[in-house]
């Protein structure tokens, strides 16, 4: 008897939950309203069956529960009833399947006027490629991929020279125009998902998959990787920004083409030395850092990383948070390097400085730290030497108190939360996994033991 009442409560509760709870499909921002319609239809059909079958079940339990003198019916089968039920079920299934297949037909047929954009996945970042004036993407191959050619562009393909390369987690799209997104992976499986667009597809290394949609709402939308891709899977985020055509063009023009990128001059260390005079006040003449002035060691750090940080300080992506006391000191200094060339030059000079190991100042439980560091290895390397391919800087042999502070900043969202900090966001999620200060100290104490 109780079971019948509980069943009844669960049925009513489930239906009420469906209609009253705030958790449902997020508002649509693409053309795929008919996907939402098929979901709605499926809810009605299945909801009907759910309620009817279970109410009948509950009723049977009440009506036919054991009572003295009552005997069950003896009815091994009832062909007529069974055929009716088969027929009705088949009808219900067709009612759901037919619209589903029709909409799938639309999904597999990409409209002719769709513009192609490529999304490239790697552990654990996104980057994008937009065809240039020729409207054609150049060919690529994994074999061409290296530090200078992260997209694996075929250097001999004329179609690729004008491709716009967007090495960052943010893609802009013009509103109202169908897009065919070509999906390519450099390493493992990934999945391109924007919940508001409804469609998703895996990125498979060794092949190119695709999906298409037309953005219909201006705004910012998160890209999530929804195919497990390794330990930092949950931190592989990107963003799609849908905007008016003019804004989109302005954004696109701010990026360089493949040809322009490959012809950039290298930095000039001699010219950088003069500029470095300003830096040496805090960071030391050898770039060895100065704890009293809260300045970390620079020598031995990877050039691409320092370049990006200088750009972030300049643009406010870093050092603009009100609690970032020391970052705010660095930001105006970075603006003194006016041009890209100036940045390249000063970094070229820092690279000539000898790599002097920083003194260890942080202590903690090294064994515990080693355990925690297992989660850092995937990006920063087993020896903490950093890996440009994963956008992870060197941590071993660098200033340890600075590491502690940065981890705390990441954890508290003081660093990495700025929306232009493309790679910091991931680190905020990783730092969040460090539950307390002691763990951070243990971790850094372990990093101190790594070979320099």
């Amino acid at each position: 008897m109780v079971i019948a009442i509980v069943l009844f409560v669960l049925i009513v509760g489930s239906v009420l939950f469906h209609f009253l709870s705030p958790w449902y499909l997020t508002p649509l921002a693409s053309n795929w309203s008919n996907i939402d319609d098929t979901i709605g239809l499926t809810f009605w059909v299945t909801g009907f069956v759910f309620v009817v079958v279970n109410l009948f079940l509950a009723w049977c339990v009440i009506r036919y529960r054991k009572c003295d003198g009552h005997k069950a019916d003896y009815e091994p089968e009832n062909k007529k009833l069974e055929s009716w039920l088969t027929g009705l079920t088949a009808l219900g299934v067709i009612a759901m399947l037919a619209p589903g297949l029709l909409v799938w037909g639309e999904f597999v047929t990409v409209p002719e006027d769709a513009s192609e954009v490529e999304a490239v996945g790697q552990q654990w970042h996104w980057s994008f490629r937009v065809p240039g004036v020729d409207n054609k993407l150049g060919t690529t191959d994994v074999r061409f991929i290296n530090a200078d050619n992260p997209f694996g562009m075929n250097p001999d393909d004329p179609d690729g020279q004008d491709d716009v390369l967007i090495a960052g987690n943010e893609l802009h799209l013009p509103i109202g125009k169908p897009v065919k997104l070509l999906l390519r992976s450099k390493d493992v499986l990934h999945n391109f998902t924007v919940a508001q667009f409804r469609v998703k597809m895996d990125l498979v290394p060794g092949m190119v998959s695709y999906l298409w949609f037309t953005p219909t709402e201006v705004g910012e939308f998160d890209i999530l990787c929804e195919e497990y891709c390794g330990v930092a899977h949950f931190a592989m985020r990107g963003r799609v920004i849908v905007e008016e055509e003019a804004d989109y063009q302005a954004w696109l023009n701010s990026y360089s083409t493949y040809a322009e990128m490959s012809s950039q001059p290298a930095g000039n260390a001699a010219a950088g030395e003069t500029a470095y005079a300003v830096c040496s006040v805090c960071h030391g003449t050898q770039g060895e850092g100065n704890v009293a002035l809260n300045s970390p060691k620079l020598n031995g750090q990877e050039a691409w990383y320092m370049k990006r940080q200088l750009e972030y300080f300049k643009s406010g992506a870093r050092g603009s948070h009100e609690d970032d006391v020391y970052g705010k000191q660095m930001a105006p200094m970075a603006t003194t390097l006016v041009t890209d060339t100036a940045i390249n030059d000063v970094i070229a000079y820092i690279e000539t400085l000898p790599d002097i190991p920083a003194p260890a100042t942080v202590t903690g439980d090294v064994l515990h730290g080693q355990e925690v560091f297992a989660n850092c290895v995937a990006c920063h390397g087993a020896d903490g030497q950093g890996l440009q391919a994963l956008n992870a800087p060197r941590v071993a042999g660098m200033t340890d108190w600075y590491l502690v502070r940065q981890l705390q900043n990441f954890k508290q969202g003081i660093r990495g939360a700025h929306r232009k900090d493309m790679y910091g966001h991931q680190m905020t999620m990783m730092a969040a996994t460090l539950p307390d200060e002691q763990t951070i100290n243990d971790l850094v104490a372990y990093i101190n033991t790594l070979p320099q």
């Binding site: 997020t26 003896y74 589903g100 991929i145």
Partner: protein, 587 residues
């Protein structure tokens, strides 16, 4: 020859026992009786205990995941690496090492021979080997927790390339041990499976025609056929994967840049692996479901004192589901990057399979209709099963329909769906079945109060875990995420819901200890059970001793005169007629 035999001879039927009792191998030592036993019932209990033990490990791992999801970053012993390792090991343990082993190795071994009136499996020695190889596979799996790098963290689907690359925990040793363990599991299972099939085909007692088999046997029989044919797909993918990992082949591995370095592989296809894996993976769902379907049919019939409704339809539905389950596998791969045109075919076949499945549900409910429902513990679990299975089956129509799957694939909706249909439902049947047959297996009744409590918490609790989880998936919360961080579309209130789910999961998880306590307590302190406490008709309840001894039956095998569902037959004084009860006038 006994007197009973003579009587039948008079009516013109010839009834010798198929296997004489003396032909059985009788162990003389304690070791031979209880450890290296060749008695299917002992092997069944060995299988059952091992499966439940490793299942408890899986349960603890799931609670670890729930703690992280409900209270992100609050517990220092959970980090992204061991979280995903817990996800992987939980999935593999539950699907293969718990459910498959318990349903087929446990229930199959115990009930196939005894229900069809046989003394034992046809190849008892092979049957014993089957268990020991299974145990070895479990030990290898457990060993992977202790190797450098820990167990594999590639997700239970073990997709290449990530399974063997840096950036995935356990890519060095854990993954290899997992594959080797699976290979052993498959070899062990094949040995058992050969036994189950040949036993059903050739060891049935006189009068036990196919259409007089209890649905439990039908379910286990068909599931075994599926498993025998589907597990090779897993073996094939495991072997090819080991070639890629250890010998540098490129079956599944394309050219890749991993951690900034070019690998030596080239040209392989990760999707090829997915095809092979799911060719096993989908029938696997039914390998778990079909025995549950069979057992729940018998439980419903016994406790509603009514013949199962539409027996013939039920048998053919089991066969149809089994056959169809081989042509739906790619519905797990709608967004995998495979040729999207496959979607049309697989969506159609997948939704067709809904028809026989729905018929089974109708027939269960119609068995209760006009019945005489005894709300015993096994019956409560059976009713709970119908409710959760209806829910889980219906959400399958979302994911099977290719268009609807697009937004839902890889979200918590999928997790909620397959837990409802593959975890909660079969596990409710498992509990129902254990309570139902416990008196026969142990000779004691279980403790009613503890069992009641266990039922209510498990049933309501697991519904509270998985029903709301569907809506998190609808909103777009992905699966296999260590933490959500901040997004622009997930409502902050979702975290509250996650906390609720975690608390429910902890309550349900802890309650399972009570179940184990009840099993052990009742073994010593439970009331003595009679031979046939539920007044059931099938042969296992008609044994001379409880628990039945080696050889199951007395000197002579039972003769079967009727189908297993003669409950409340009109004109009879008692409301059940055992299968071996001769018709009036015959004896």
């Amino acid at each position: 020859m006994s007197t009973a035999t003579t009587m039948h001879d008079e009516t013109g039927h010839v009834p010798p026992a198929e296997v004489e009792e003396v032909e059985l191998y009788h162990a003389k030592t304690w070791l031979g009786k209880y450890v290296f036993s060749q008695d299917a019932k002992v092997i069944a209990i060995q299988y059952g205990c091992t499966a439940i033990a490793i299942g408890m490990v899986g349960l603890v791992l799931s609670l670890m995941m729930r703690l992280q999801l409900g209270f992100p970053n609050e517990f220092s012993f959970i980090n992204p690496s061991n979280y995903i390792q817990a996800v992987t090991m939980h999935g593999m343990i539950m699907v293969v090492y718990l459910l498959t082993a318990l349903f087929l190795g446990g229930f199959g071994n115990y009930f196939i021979p005894i229900m069809i009136g046989a003394r034992d499996m046809v190849f008892p020695y092979v049957n014993m080997l089957s268990f020991w190889i299974y145990l070895l596979s479990v030990l290898i799996l457990v060993a992977s927790f202790f190797v450098p790098g820990g167990p594999s963290g590639a997700g239970w689907t073990l997709y290449p390339p990530q399974v063997m690359l840096e950036g995935t925990p356990g890519h060095e040793w854990g993954a290899i041990l997992m594959l080797v363990s699976l290979a052993f599991f498959i070899i062990g299972f094949t040995m058992g499976g050969l036994n189950y099939v040949v036993t059903v085909l050739q060891a049935r007692t006189r009068g036990m025609t196919l259409m007089r088999l209890p649905l439990t046997v039908w379910g286990i029989f068909m599931a075994t056929i599926l498993a025998l044919l589907a597990f090779p797909a897993l073996l094939v993918s495991a072997i090819m994967m080991l070639f890629d990992m250890l010998l540098g082949a490129s079956f599944f591995m394309p050219a890749i840049v991993s951690m900034g370095e070019q690998l030596d592989h080239s040209g392989g296809s990760p999707i090829l692996f997915q095809h092979l894996f799911w060719f096993f993976g989908h029938p696997e769902v039914y390998i778990v479901a079909l025995p549950a379907f069979g057992m729940v049919s018998d439980i419903l019939s016994v406790h509603a004192r009514k013949a199962i409704f539409g027996y013939r339809m039920m048998v053919w539905a089991i066969v149809a589901i089994g056959g169809l389950s081989f042509i739906v596998w790619a519905h797990h791969m709608y967004v995998s990057g495979m040729n999207p045109y496959f979607g049309f075919f697989f969506a159609t076949t997948t939704l067709i399979i809904a028809v026989p499945t729905a018929l089974k549900v109708y027939n269960w409910v119609l068995t209760l209709w006009r019945g005489n429902i005894h709300l015993t513990i096994p019956m409560l679990f059976a009713i709970g099963f119908i409710f959760t299975f209806v829910n889980g089956g219906l959400t399958g129509l979302f994911l099977g329909n290719v268009t609807v799957d697009l937004p839902l694939s890889d979200t918590l909706f999928v997790v909620a769906h397959f837990h409802m249909v593959m975890a909660v439902s079969p596990v409710l049947v498992l509990y129902g079945a254990i309570y139902h047959w416990y008196p026969k297996i142990s000779g004691r009744m279980f403790h009613q109060g503890m069992a009641q409590f266990h039922f209510w918490i498990t049933f309501v609790g697991s519904y509270a875990i998985y029903y709301p989880m569907h809506y998190l998936g609808l909103m777009g919360v992905p699966r296999r995420y260590f933490s959500m961080g901040s997004t622009d579309f997930i409502l902050p209130s979702a975290q509250g819901l996650n906390e609720f789910i975690t608390i429910a999961a902890i309550i349900v998880g802890v309650t399972q200890l009570l179940f184990i306590y009840n099993l052990v307590w009742s073994l010593f302190k439970g009331e003595k059970a009679s031979d046939n406490p539920w007044n059931a008709t099938t042969l296992e309840w008609q044994t001379a001793t409880t628990p039945p001894g080696h050889g199951n039956f007395g000197k002579e095998l039972p003769l079967v005169y009727r189908w297993p569902y003669d409950y409340s037959v009109p004109g009879e004084d008692i409301d059940f007629l055992p299968q071996n009860q001769p018709p009036r006038g015959a004896g």
